[in-house]
């Protein structure tokens, strides 16, 4: 089994986690999220989003405390320790499948966006190859290059957030009222629907062993999570005020539709720029998930990560041919959102408890040994 901690030259600074976690969270989900949540809790959607995005914080702590006592091990190695060789392998493969699926879904969602907004004749496979080649290029460089990509993407794309200032002028404030007239259940359903957007912090499971100053991990993770929360809550608030009920329910990408009214003197249609720039937003997503998935393949089959990357991308490329309609895309996105919710909210709790039990028994065994030797 390949459970050696990563070499020191591959480590990254703790503050890089800020960029990694934030960019892993923001992606294709963001452009469609306000509508999906709005369908559940209408004008109270922003409360759902705020609750949902802040909920990530305790779960990030759980991930941290799961890995902390074990030193520099990632989730795959933890699985091996807890479940033993064969069940561990199976679970690792399941996790690899999940991560690759997320990777696949991100790429497909973005391609759909391009086809709907800019090039409607663009063949899916071509765009898939172009995007995948970028991700492969980043992943083959290792985590340090992937981290570089996240920082680059963050710096180049944060300005998009400020473009929201234009739609703010068109907000109709009556649309926020009456506040809180939805049942707790509806608001919680909205919170669940937010999960697809907040997903991404589970990447900590795999990045943690590479962090240089591990004590500072949570500080930077928290900064990232809070920044994401603020960002997506503001976007949701603006969307609710900007669109009337029925319009928001019908608009697939409300954030992009909102950009439609931004008009610069020499650029009439800003949303085309936004769609193109969105590639920078999803690139770290793709790279991080592909990286994490390929590490899993490498761990399970004991092959070089390089081959692992090619295997995953090839499988995704084949899968891409079977996905053709908006309905199917919706279904797959919904499925991944639910799976993701379990994977990043429920599963960490389970693995946390199992690790605790394991450590407790090990401690017990050790003290027993001591007793018998005495």
């Amino acid at each position: 089994m390949n459970t050696q901690p990563p070499a020191k030259r591959l480590w990254i600074n703790a503050y890089m986690l800020m960029f990694i976690i934030h960019t892993a969270q923001t992606g294709v989900g963001l452009v469609g999220m306000p509508r999906v949540v709005f369908l559940e809790s209408a004008q109270d959607a922003w409360i759902s989003v705020l609750l949902g995005s802040l909920a990530a914080i305790p779960f990030a702590y759980i991930i941290y405390y799961t890995l902390k006592p074990l030193g520099r091990l990632d989730l795959y190695a933890v699985h091996d320790i807890i479940y033993g060789k064969w069940i561990g392998k199976l679970l690792n493969l399941l996790y690899v499948f999940y991560l690759s699926w997320v990777f696949f879904n991100i790429v497909m969602n973005y391609i759909e966006m391009i086809q709907a907004w800019v090039f409607n004749m663009l063949p899916t496979w071509l765009m898939f190859l172009l995007l995948a080649s970028l991700a492969i290029y980043a992943v083959l460089g290792g985590l340090r290059v992937v981290t570089g990509v996240t920082i680059l993407s963050f710096l180049l794309s944060t300005w998009l957030v400020f473009m929201i200032a234009v739609p703010i002028q068109y907000i109709d404030t009556t649309q926020y009222f009456p506040i809180l007239n939805h049942s707790v259940k509806e608001i919680m359903m909205g919170t669940l629907k937010t999960s697809f957007t907040i997903l991404g912090f589970e990447i900590l499971f795999f990045v943690y062993p590479f962090v240089d100053d591990q004590k500072k991990t949570m500080r930077y993770v928290n900064i990232a999570l809070i920044y994401t929360s603020i960002q997506i809550t503001v976007v949701t608030i603006v969307c609710i005020g900007f669109f009337s009920d029925v319009s928001l329910e019908k608009t697939i990408w409300p954030v992009l539709s909102m950009f439609k009214i931004v008009r610069l003197p020499n650029l009439e249609r800003f949303e085309f720029i936004a769609v193109s720039f969105w590639m920078l937003v999803i690139l770290p997503n793709m790279a991080l998930y592909l990286w994490a998935a390929s590490r899993g393949v490498r761990h399970v089959f004991q092959i070089s990560q390089k081959y692992a990357v090619w295997i995953i991308v090839t499988l995704c490329f084949i899968a891409q041919f079977f996905l053709s309609s908006r309905l199917m895309m919706n279904m797959i996105t919904d499925k991944i959102a639910t799976t993701g919710t379990y994977m990043s909210f429920l599963y960490p709790v389970i693995i946390f408890l199992l690790v605790r039990i394991h450590l407790y028994r090990k401690k017990g065994a050790k003290s027993n040994e001591k007793n018998t030797s005495n």
């Binding site: 172009l130 109709d172 009337s244 029925v246 539709s257 439609k260 009214i261």
Partner: protein
């Protein structure tokens, strides 16, 4: 070396992978008009203004008319007739014939919102007669692009806050809101010019009433973000006679003593506050605060005295309140709610969501308490 080669090959070979659109081969639709040819058939007639760029000729515009069942069907038919590929990315204005507007325009608007290539800032207007007539006005003699011309005409008026921006965005948002109705400008031909005639009030997507430009002023007073412009205050002579400026050089002429004095004031800032005070029956309190400056006086009124302003304020308040009340009564009669009283009501109603019909019933029973407060802040550069 190998890497560089691969990268540069990618740059050059992939550059034209996606579909291309060459400007010279495109026909850009800048304006489109919709009409109903006759009552019996379900087809619609579309008239488009198409702009071509050609290297030999200078840019020229074409006007083509076609019939179809859907708006995209019309475009398809147009494409068959044109030597250029017809695209609608530069569409600026959509004109609806009055007859069509009376029957509902939603079905045609849908094609705009669904198509990503069409911008949200497109203007929707209603033609006084048929849209075709308006678009074909002075066909052939025009040296400029008609679509852009119409667009600029509306934009200029919107910027001047003569009426709220009739963009697609605004239309769809108000149409989709059960407690609010859209308003669209009605354009007509005035001898040899095209101009803004009236304002069309819609109920849902159907044209149900019109307001003259003068009456529109009172409607705009209640709307947020708009409501500027000048208005005249009529003052009966006997009320103001004591406040006239006594000068040695000119005396008040005899004819004025019988009639009224008019004073034109310009609206500097308007603040409106509409509140729902009671739910059953719906009672709204409409407070409008206007700060104005004097633009023109038909008689020498003495602005040095406070009493002059008291008289003027009273009269202005009364006149504006009457205007607003008259306006609301008309809106109730035609069941159109462009101000959004419905969404204000909805914001306070926690139990259920109103449908359009429920709101119309409530709206007809609503009462309104209108208060206007006028304040004169400047009198120009003379007293």
């Amino acid at each position: 070396m190998k890497k560089t080669l691969v990268i540069s090959l990618c740059c050059f070979l992939l550059a034209s992978c996606v579909e291309q659109k060459q400007l010279e081969r495109l026909g850009l639709i800048t304006a489109i008009g919709y009409d109903i040819p006759d009552e019996s058939s379900s087809s619609i007639r579309g008239t488009v203004v198409m702009l071509n760029f050609s290297p030999e000729l200078s840019n020229f515009t074409n006007i083509i008319t076609q019939e179809g069942v859907t708006s995209k069907g019309i475009r398809r038919a147009l494409n068959q007739e044109s030597s250029h590929q017809v695209v609608s990315g530069q569409l600026r204005v959509a004109v609806y014939g009055k007859e069509m507007a009376e029957q509902g325009i939603r079905s045609v608007v849908d094609s705009f919102t669904r198509d990503a290539s069409i911008g949200n800032m497109l203007y929707l207007v209603i033609a006084e007669g048929s849209a075709e007539e308006l678009i074909k006005f002075r066909e052939g003699t025009l040296t400029y692009n008609f679509g852009t011309h119409l667009y600029n005409l509306i934009q200029q008026n919107v910027k001047d806050q003569q009426f709220p921006s009739p963009t697609l965005q605004n239309f769809v948002n108000t149409y989709d809101n059960p407690g609010k109705d859209p308003i669209l400008p009605i354009m007509g031909i005035d001898e040899d010019r095209i101009g803004l005639k009236e304002i069309g009030l819609l109920k849902g997507d159907r044209l149900v009433g019109t307001l003259s430009n003068k009456e529109l002023f009172y409607l705009l007073l209640m709307m947020k973000g708009v409501g500027s412009g000048s208005f005249d205050i009529e003052i009966p002579y006997e009320k103001i006679s004591s406040q006239l400026y006594k000068s040695k050089t000119h005396n008040t002429t005899e004819e004025f003593r019988q009639g009224s004095v008019y004073i034109t004031v310009d609206n500097v800032r308007t603040k409106q506050k509409i509140k729902l005070v009671k739910k059953e029956p719906p009672t709204f309190k409409v407070d409008v605060e206007i700060k104005t400056r004097v633009l023109e006086v038909t008689e020498n009124i003495d602005f040095m005295q406070k009493k002059t302003f008291d008289i003027l304020t009273d009269l202005a308040n009364k006149q504006l309140e009457d205007g607003i009340r008259r306006n609301i009564a008309y809106l109730q009669e035609i069941e159109s709610d462009p101000i959004g009283f419905g969404s204000l009501y909805q914001a306070k109603e926690r139990k259920k969501e109103l449908s359009q019909d429920e709101w119309v019933n409530l709206f007809k029973r609503s009462t309104f308490d209108v208060n206007v407060k006028t304040e004169f802040i400047r009198t120009g550069v003379t007293d």
